[in-house]
């Protein structure tokens, strides 16, 4: 039983970061129907910026916001410089998705060019070797920090969307772009904000994942895929679904790693995705799309 809870704790900690990744994916998908395959790589770029700043002894409380903003600006630049012109030329959704795949490769190339292939160790104020014992349970500093960051991020996003005018404009834009425009909502700016916000969450996840993993230009690939799985599990257009999906993936991954075998740690989440898609294609929180004829 104790080991079970121990796995659960590390699962929740990893899952909260997958939730952040999933939120970024869902945010873009629900407002534009684009699956952003460059999401992980944008997060990697932001994390490397943080790495460089932290290696130059910049304090963490400065390095964190700078890297987040950098990631957000990069995504907004990408939106205005590539997605908007593509849309002006009537690119299909599939075409735009392919563009994000291309961008992912470009970013990977840039990462290799600027930071090289060597694995780095992220200087980080929290450590996973500092451990607290509460009764029979172990909590390490990093995973607690990670969990708090993941949950706080999700809650902040929830309030932004539910309680602010920007959030309402985002909802309106994602539901009916043409109608939102005729009401005077600047949909381009709103969408650019969504792209920026999504990348910001990605970088946040990346920065807290890097200390636990090895930092190299491809370190976000796995977390990205898991966040993606979480998003699908939750039902691609539900923000609550993204958080729940991400947490489930994190927990299942750790349980299967612990009880079945470590080799299965990465496989089981994907098996779950296949099962979900077979049984409930719209995901746990997704709304079934029914066209009225």
């Amino acid at each position: 039983m104790v080991t079970f809870f121990q796995y659960l704790i590390s699962g929740l900690s990893a899952g909260s970061l997958y939730a952040l990744v999933a939120l970024g994916i869902v945010l873009i998908y629900r407002s534009t129907r684009i699956l952003n395959f460059a999401h992980g790589d944008k997060a990697t770029v932001g994390t490397f910026v943080a790495f460089t700043l932290l290696s130059r002894d910049l304090p963490f409380y400065l390095a964190l916001p700078i890297s987040l903003v950098f990631g957000a600006l990069l995504a907004m630049f990408f939106y205005f410089a590539i997605i908007v012109p593509a849309q002006r030329r009537d690119a299909t959704i599939l075409g735009q998705i392919t563009i994000t795949v291309g961008l992912s490769m470009v970013l990977q190339g840039a990462l290799l060019f600027f930071w090289g292939t060597e694995s780095q160790i992220m200087p980080f104020p929290l450590s996973d070797t500092r451990v607290w014992t509460v009764g029979p349970f172990y909590f390490n500093q990093l995973s607690i920090g990670t969990f708090l960051v993941g949950i706080t991020g999700s809650i902040l996003l929830y309030f932004l969307i539910q309680k602010t005018r920007l959030g309402l404009a985002m909802k309106a834009t994602s539901e009916n772009l043409a109608a939102a425009q005729t009401l005077g909502i600047p949909t381009r700016t709103v969408l650019a904000t969504s792209w920026g916000l999504a990348a910001l969450f990605g970088v946040l996840a990346g920065m807290f994942l890097a200390p636990a993993l090895i930092l190299d230009p491809f370190f976000m690939l796995e977390p990205f895929l898991k966040g993606f799985s979480g998003a699908i599990l939750g039902g691609l257009n539900s923000l609550v679904g993204a958080v729940v999906g991400g947490l489930i993936i994190g927990i299942v991954e750790n349980l299967s790693g612990g009880y079945i075998s470590l080799e299965f740690k990465n496989t089981v989440p994907f098996l779950i995705i296949i099962l979900v898609l077979l049984v409930r294609p719209e995901g746990l929180f997704g709304k079934e799309f029914k066209e009225r004829i």
Partner: protein, 251 residues
């Protein structure tokens, strides 16, 4: 000064001229109707005025300012509201939320001021929205999801959403299409009421000549992208070219 001036407006899609050299003016508080058979370019004209399409040539002036090159949201801020031929609402939101979204541009820009006055602001907007809800007789549907409302109600919600924006010019694209005879009369009555009560000008696309003749001060007739004629309903109905366009060649 004219409220709206459309001059030599031309729109080409590839080789097809959707509109060629269309021009007319509109006065303050006028109800002007655009009529014409299917494919005459009526909705294209609307899309140019509201910024969805950029015309190939020509000029559109609203209160003396050119609208060309502005995005639809900027045009909405300038005071032009519209409805669509095929209703475009936020289907997963309630009727009330749809109407509140119509107030978007009326919220204060300064975030600090908005924060300090948020209560009175919200109340002011709610008052306006409730007024329109009452006016359009939507009380029973306020908390219902738009998706679950009957078609006629959805049409009224869209109309209401455009009114709460407090535009100076309202573009209505076939407001009575698909409604029952009874509902048609009701909307026709509402359209004239809107002008009186909210003091705005209305540009209206409609197929139902009988209803339009009752509503409009003047009419502009389009056929194959060109202006056939304009005038009062009585003048237009007597025009032999209009009869030909609508009924076909006389036997």
């Amino acid at each position: 000064m004219q409220l709206l001036t459309v001059d030599a407006l031309t729109v080409r899609f590839g080789g097809i001229s959707a509109l060629s050299d269309v021009g007319f003016t509109m006065d303050d508080r006028e109800i002007l109707s655009i009529i014409g058979p299917n494919g005459a370019g009526k909705t294209t004209l609307f899309n140019c005025i509201s910024g969805v399409y950029q015309p190939t040539r020509g000029e559109i002036l609203f209160q003396g300012e050119s609208l060309l090159g502005l995005s639809p949201d900027r045009i909405a801020v300038k005071g032009i509201g519209r409805t669509f031929q095929n209703i475009r609402l936020f289907n997963n939101m309630t009727v009330l939320d749809n109407l509140m979204l119509g107030r978007h541009i009326r919220f204060r820009r300064n975030p600090l001021q908005a924060y300090l006055r948020i209560r009175t602001e919200e109340l002011r907007h709610r008052e306006k929205v409730e007024e329109v809800i009452g006016f359009l007789d939507l009380q029973a549907y306020r908390k219902m999801r738009v998706m679950d409302c009957p078609y006629g109600v959805q049409k009224r919600v869209e109309l209401g959403r455009a009114i709460v924006m407090e535009p100076k010019l309202l573009l209505l694209d076939e407001p009575v299409a698909g409604l029952t005879a009874e509902e048609k009369n009701r909307v026709a009555y509402l359209v004239t009421e809107i002008r009186g009560r909210f003091g705005l000008s209305i540009l209206l696309i409609e197929h139902d000549l009988r209803i339009v003749s009752r509503l409009a001060d003047r009419m502009v007739v389009l056929n194959f992208g060109q202006k056939l004629t304009e005038g009062t309903p009585a003048e237009v109905q007597k025009n032999p070219e209009v009869i030909r366009a609508y009924v076909g060649e006389e036997a």
